[in-house]
């Protein structure tokens, strides 16, 4: 049963990941990323951390990608016009390097863990209580730091994206490049 779910959602994740990268329209890309993240969330559940799955959906798809859609709509980013230039050295270079990286990663991971058996699943691992105990004991300091980080991020984002007084609002329709 678990294998079936893994294969299904793994495949979904892969296909949508490719869609994210391949699709010209930013909205479609974002939506396929949503699908990828949901699929990964399911995989998290399979890996015994439902709390993270929920968190991911709530945080990532619920908030961050909505922000992405907002920005896409605000800046009226149209379809990415195909540059028309032949695939430059940049593309070939990156594809090559990425494949190289992926190949070596897979080979390494396969060698290292092809036969490793996951540890027995104790309740402590999956239950929210187990996670929260650890979170508020040994990881308390990072938890507080994260709070601070998020505050800083909020301030920074609002400051950077603010419209200076007197500056006319940017009309996306205006002289689009």
């Amino acid at each position: 049963m678990e294998a079936a779910v893994f294969l299904l959602f793994g495949l979904v994740a892969l296909v949508s990941a490719i869609m994210v990268v391949a699709h010209r329209n930013p909205v479609y890309a974002t939506m396929s990323l949503v699908v990828t993240l949901v699929a990964t969330a399911v995989l998290f559940v399979l890996l015994g951390s439902p709390f993270l799955a929920a968190l991911q959906i709530l945080l990532y798809t619920g908030a961050i990608l909505v922000l992405f859609l907002f920005v896409i709509m605000l800046l009226n980013i149209g379809r990415e016009r195909p540059s028309g230039a032949r695939t430059t050295a940049q593309t070939w270079g990156s594809v090559l390097l990425a494949l190289l990286l992926a190949g070596s990663l897979c080979r390494l991971l396969w060698d290292a863990h092809s036969d490793s058996v996951p540890a027995p699943l104790e309740v402590q691992f999956t239950s929210l209580r187990g996670v929260s105990d650890l979170l508020f004991s040994t990881y308390l300091l990072p938890f507080e730091m994260i709070g601070l980080l998020l505050l800083v991020a909020v301030v920074a984002a609002s400051w950077v994206a603010r419209r200076a007084e007197g500056e006319p609002p940017v009309d996306p329709e205006e002289e689009r490049p």
Binding site: Q90, G93, S94, L97, A98, L100, L101, S104, L108
Partner: protein, 654 residues
Amino acid sequence: MQPVDLLWLVPALPFLGAAVNALLVRNHQKSLISAVGVGFPGLSLALALAILWQYLASIRPQAIEQVLYAWTTGDFAIDVGFRLDPLSAVMLFVVTFVGFWIHLYSVGYMGHEAGYRRFFSYLNLFMGMMLLLVLGNNFVVLFVGWEGVGLCSYLLIGFYYEEVFPPFAGKKAFVVNRIGDFAFLLGVFAIYANWGTLRFGELGERVLADPATAHRPYLLGLSVAGFVALCLFGGATGKSAQIPLFVWLPDAMAGPTPVSALIHAATMVTAGVYMVVRANVFYQLAPEISMVVAVIGAATAIFAATIGLAQNDIKKVLAYSTVSQLGYMFLAAGVGAYTAAIFHLATHAFFKACLFLGSGSVIHAMGGEQDMRKMGGLRKQLPVTYRTFWISTLAIAGIPPLAGFFSKDEILAGAFAYGADLYKLLWIVGLVTAGLTACYMFRAVYLTFEGRFRGSHEQEHHLHESPRVMTLPLVVLAAGAVVAGWVGIPAGLWHAFGLPDKNLLHHFLAPVVAELPERAAEHEMSVAIELALMLASVVVAVTGILLARRWWLARGLAADEAFAARAGAVRRLLENKYWVDEIYDRLVVRPLRGLARVCWKVVDTLVIDGALHVGAFVTELTGDLGRFTTTGNVRQYALYFLGGVVLLFWWMIL
């Protein structure tokens, strides 16, 4: 104030004359130019005669030294000084006397030339340099004079610089002399290295003081003295046009005739002989080198004599005759008869200068024509020139009682008496050359003055005797050619007439020659043999003359055609001067030119420029690479980043 104290003024005057003519006088002031040009050498002659008179009268064999400025750097001391001793006295007399008369002659000869002022300033400069060479008291001053004369010969050969050949001949002369000077310098350095001094006086004493250093083995497998002697002789061959380096002299005839007379007959070319005699102590300590000198001298003599036979240009004939006579002088030096060499040098200066000036007045009359085939029958139009030419030719042929006989005979006697049988062979060569000399000289005389005129009608009409200013020097020099011989009548002849040995010149020059004990015996010779030798040389000379009369006087040019018909190959060989120039060109000039090309093409462009280009290319390359990495394109930075990650990953993992 004794005249001797003004010794330094003798060379100074011609220098002054050259300066005045060069800087102060205008081209059109012809009379002023000739006044200055002839006046200053004249004053110098007068002063020289006064000095000689006082020297002969009172001082005699003792040498006088006069130092103008002593220059020392560290332990190296050179002083600008003059030295008067028997040898330089003779040379002083010859140079100033012959020089003055040639200056006078050139007033007439160069009268209508364009560079009149330039000519006289160069000529005076030359006189100054020659006197410096002759009177110098050490090798450095001698060398300064040596180079100075070389320079002036270059300037004067290339006097007609508009034409093509003279500048080339000037350059050739200068380069060949330089090669000789190089060897000369090596010799001077070796002297200083081994004996620490270059002054003639001290040198003689130091060398004789410890003969061991002289015999120490030194470079080129020779002893020290040997090496020095060879090097100095190398310089002499360059300057006095002996076998290997004589090629420049025939071409030097491109210069005006007075130049040929003064420089390429009387004075400069004899500098080599003077230098060898001055350094005779080394040659006496290195017998093998003396032998080399003798052999080269004899070889040059006969070699040049044979070429002389086939030349058609009158000046070329005289040039080869000079080379031949110089060969005689070196033969004398080689066999140890240094006084004979100087004696022949002096007599040769007189009659050869007279011959050249004679040919000058012939060319002057013929309107610049030098080819004997175009001349003939000039006896009637140029009587004075003909007579003086005749006298000088008799002198050079060695007919008693003229000068040539006594000096040449003494050389042959020296060669004969020199012991080893090789020198007997050299004596025979000398004898044959004497015959040849007589033969080609009389050929020249008969072709130019006898027979009927072969030139163009217009030339014939233009023929005239040269003005007095040119004929006077001819007469004086001809007289000199007659009288000069009596100074050195050999002892043998005196004894023959029962008179005490009155060989003035020999006794006068004796102190100059460093008498080494072991050499003393060689020169003894019975009076009978000496007389026999004299008779032999006279017989040879007369036969030469008779042959010349039978061929050229009787048949004129036909003789040459007949000779060419019968022995075409030999004729061509001689005419082309044994192709020596071509050989040199092929052996020396072409390889050097090739080397130069290699240096230029390979070393210069390829290696040096190449290195620079490579340097520039590398910098540009790195510049491009550098520029490439800072395009500001975020994605490229990301790519490099990823590349780094992958590399790090591979490095970490593998």
